[in-house]
């Protein structure tokens, strides 16, 4: 537990420090906000630590066991249908997906949010079972990525322009902190029981990467088939659009305004605590299907001892409490701080400073993502320690910081996100031909992992703040940031893979 607290302190600490540093220099937030922020940062740190513990003890064992026992049944239809249902159920309950569906609907009223929600869930379910099918038949994961991303870009070309950024954000948003570790573990469970395969270690990864294509395709298909071509009305309709993936951001403006006006220093904290029931329900919503699945597995699939069952439930409880604290901290502290800093700096118009700050934030924000810690730990364990966690984290930091720098340039000069995303994906897909398979799989997994709650809240509200203050169009500017962050690891981790393979070749091709 102390280890986990340490990890989480070193991942959240730096961001908190930068925020406070800025608050005491260029962008004063006021004493009330500062106190609230420190309080929230502590919440976030404890929450992240608890969540990581819960993921270790609760979520990952369920996923692994599900994968392993579904495969051990040696029944292909069962494996495919089972994994489809798993993917579908855990997605449909994810609160972020529901919010996203509603947002897209508010952009264009001809979209039926319920239909979109089901499409996204089907998308993820389909790709999860396709990913397992791939492992069983030992098809190349690289081929799958290339084929499906080419399909994605062809569709993106046909689809209404405004949906391009939304579609890519969708993939980042839907793979939330609950689903990612679970899908990750599912793939590992399947790979764990399969012997004499060609590329056993790399089979452990790649499933999350494939799954995150699902939502992109779902949104694009939706926009092509269910929307009138007269969708140019979209942009003018910005008022009722909350251009943010996380719905809690809705409340951010309210809560930060309240804190500005109040006299009592601790009133900010009170406001944060007021969010508790709402957060509680949101987190419960994403956890309940997981518990339901676990119970079904217990009845039909798992043969485990009582103590293991109890331990998993305790783990799920940790994850539950951890996520509540984490979201309370983020929504109450990091989102308002991001907005205030973004708006103040945007108004000051220090373009260069903004870009540099984005680069710095990018380097540290990725370490604050819960799922990143889960993934890097699994990579280290499966590679037997040859791929060190720190090296992976460094590569992710580099990638995300570079991309966030570019994202800020885009916000300042306001060009389409496609000009960034298309080249990034072209390079990323090109790299797959040279990179060791395992690294390609890890890279695409990291995509969904890097764009977690910290990015879709703090970074997004920061960019939004800048965009608003600079008189840009928050709708077009804001959508796309998450997609960009998710694309960064594709290049960064694959380059890391190239470096690794060069080095091991020198040692004599181990």
């Amino acid at each position: 537990m102390i280890e986990k607290l340490k990890e989480s302190f070193f991942s959240i600490g730096p961001i908190a420090l930068i925020v406070l540093l800025l608050s005491f220099t260029i962008t004063p937030m006021g004493i009330v906000n500062n106190i609230t922020f420190v309080f929230c940062a502590i919440f976030t740190i404890i929450g992240l630590a608890l969540f990581l513990l819960g993921a270790d003890v609760g979520i990952i064992p369920i996923g692994e066991k599900a994968g392993a026992s579904l495969t051990s049944k040696k029944n292909l239809p069962l494996l495919l249908i089972g994994s489809f249902i798993i993917g579908f159920i855990i997605t449909i309950a994810e609160p972020d997906v529901q919010v996203l569906a509603n947002q897209v609907a508010s952009v264009n009223p001809s979209v039926n949010p319920k239909l979109l929600l089901i499409m996204i869930a089907i998308g993820i379910g389909f790709f999860v079972s396709l990913g397992l099918l791939r492992i069983v038949f030992q098809y190349s994961i690289k081929l799958f990525y290339c084929v499906f991303y080419i399909i994605v870009f062809v569709l993106a070309f046909i689809a209404p322009k405004d949906f391009f950024a939304v579609a890519f954000d969708a993939s980042g948003a839907t793979t939330g902190p609950m689903t990612v570790p679970f899908i990750l573990a599912l793939g590992m469970g399947v790979a764990a029981v399969m012997s004499n395969t060609k590329n056993n270690k790399s089979d452990n990864f790649g499933l999350t990467g494939l799954a995150s294509i699902g939502p992109i395709l779902a949104v694009l298909l939706m926009s092509i088939f269910f929307i009138d071509s007269s969708s140019s009305a979209i942009i003018t309709n910005t008022e009722n659009v909350v251009p943010v993936i996380n719905d809690e951001i809705l409340t951010l403006t309210n809560s930060s305004e309240i804190t500005k006006n109040s006299i009592n220093i601790f009133s900010g904290i009170k406001d944060v605590l007021k969010q508790f029931p709402h957060t509680f329900i949101e987190v419960a919503k994403s956890l309940i299907p997981l518990i339901g699945l676990f119970i079904v597995f217990l009845i039909f699939l798992f043969k485990i001892s009582k103590r293991q069952i109890i331990k998993i439930f305790i783990g799920l409880f940790y994850a539950f409490v951890g996520l509540i604290l984490f979201f309370l901290g983020i929504n109450g502290g990091f989102i308002p701080a991001g907005t205030i800093i973004g708006e103040t700096l945007g108004a000051l118009n220090y373009k260069l400073f903004l870009i540099i700050l984005s680069i710095v934030l990018g380097a540290i924000v990725v370490c604050a993502e819960p799922a990143v810690w889960v993934l890097t730990k699994q990579v280290e364990e499966i590679s037997g320690g040859t791929i060190r966690r720190k090296v992976l984290l460094a590569a992710l930091s580099f990638g995300v910081s570079a991309v966030l720098g570019l994202a800020m340039v885009r916000v300042i000069y306001g060009f389409s996100v496609a000009y960034l995303l298309v080249p990034i994906f072209v390079i990323a897909l090109g790299l797959t031909f040279f990179c060791p398979t395992m690294f390609t799989a890890i890279a695409f997994d990291s995509g969904g992992v890097a764009s977690g709650p910290m990015t879709s809240s703090f970074i997004l509200s920061f960019t939004l703040g800048v965009s608003t203050a600079m008189g840009g169009n928050p709708l077009t500017d804001a959508f796309g940031v998450i997609g960009l962050v998710a694309s960064a690891p594709l290049i960064a981790i694959q380059i890391l893979g190239l470096i690794y393979s060069k080095k091991s070749q020198k040692k004599g091709g181990e």
């Binding site: 537990m1 280890e3 513990l53 270790d56 003890v57 609760g58 064992p61 066991k65 392993a68 495969t71 051990s72 040696k74 292909l76 069983v136 038949f137 030992q138 764990a192 029981v193 399969m194 012997s195 004499n196 395969t197 485990i304 001892s305 103590r307 293991q308 109890i310 331990k311 305790i314 783990g315 940790y318 280290e380 364990e381 037997g384 320690g385």
Partner: protein, 211 residues
């Protein structure tokens, strides 16, 4: 010839290998494991488990003391109870295509290394049993069975059982009690569900600050 095994916190295995290098021991293999919790309650709550590195090294009898001294020296700056070190006698080593032969030394073993290999998920059940019989701690390593000829194939791929390997270091006199306790485990009753064996261990050391 001795197989020297050291169990230390995750990422600290490097300290052991550095120490070994300093006295000329050529190679070491690091395996990743998970240390079990100190007691039942902590284990149940999922607290107190910690990631470990398990370091395996082979050394001639003559150089053994030098190596152990170096390791103890290198780890002095770490906190008390940092890790453990013990050895198992070996007699034949194939290295660079040549057999090196050296008989193990006959000593009175003070400790025993109990290894339990069982289906994944049950290692902690086994540890709970062992703890009741006086074991203090164990280390779990994820593993997988090799699969037998008769194992059913699934589209050409052999499905093998997931396994866990639990290693417990205990006083020699506790060995029988612990083995009996593990024998009681329901999860070890079926055919192919797991095995347990003991090996004599010499010269057990605690690493870390010696105060």
């Amino acid at each position: 010839m001795k197989l020297i095994i050291s169990i230390v916190p995750r990422h600290k295995g490097v300290i052991i290998t550095e120490a070994a290098k300093a006295v000329g021991c050529k190679g070491a293999t690091i395996v990743m494991g998970k240390g079990t919790a100190k007691n039942q309650v902590l284990e149940f709550l999922g607290l107190g488990t910690s990631d470990k590195d398990i370091v395996y090294m082979l050394e001639k009898n003559s150089d053994y003391n030098k190596l152990v001294d170096a390791i103890i020296d290198f780890t002095k700056s770490e906190k008390k109870g940092f890790g453990i070190l013990f050895n198992i006698e070996c007699n034949k080593l194939l290295k660079n295509g040549i057999f090196e032969i050296e008989e193990g030394e006959l000593t009175m073993a003070t400790h025993t290394l109990i290894t339990v290999i069982l289906n994944a998920g049950y290692a902690e059940d086994a540890m709970a049993q062992a703890r009741k019989a006086g074991a203090t701690g164990g280390t779990i390593i994820n593993a997988r069975g090799t699969g037998k000829e008769e194992d059913a194939k699934f589209f050409g791929i052999t499905i093998v059982p997931e396994k866990e390997m639990l290693i417990i270091l205990a006083d020699k006199e506790k060995q029988e009690n612990i083995l009996q306790a593990i024998k009681e485990l329901p999860c070890l009753q079926e055919v192919g569900s797991g095995i347990t064996f003991c090996s004599d261990v010499n010269n057990f050391f605690m690493l870390g600050s010696q105060k």
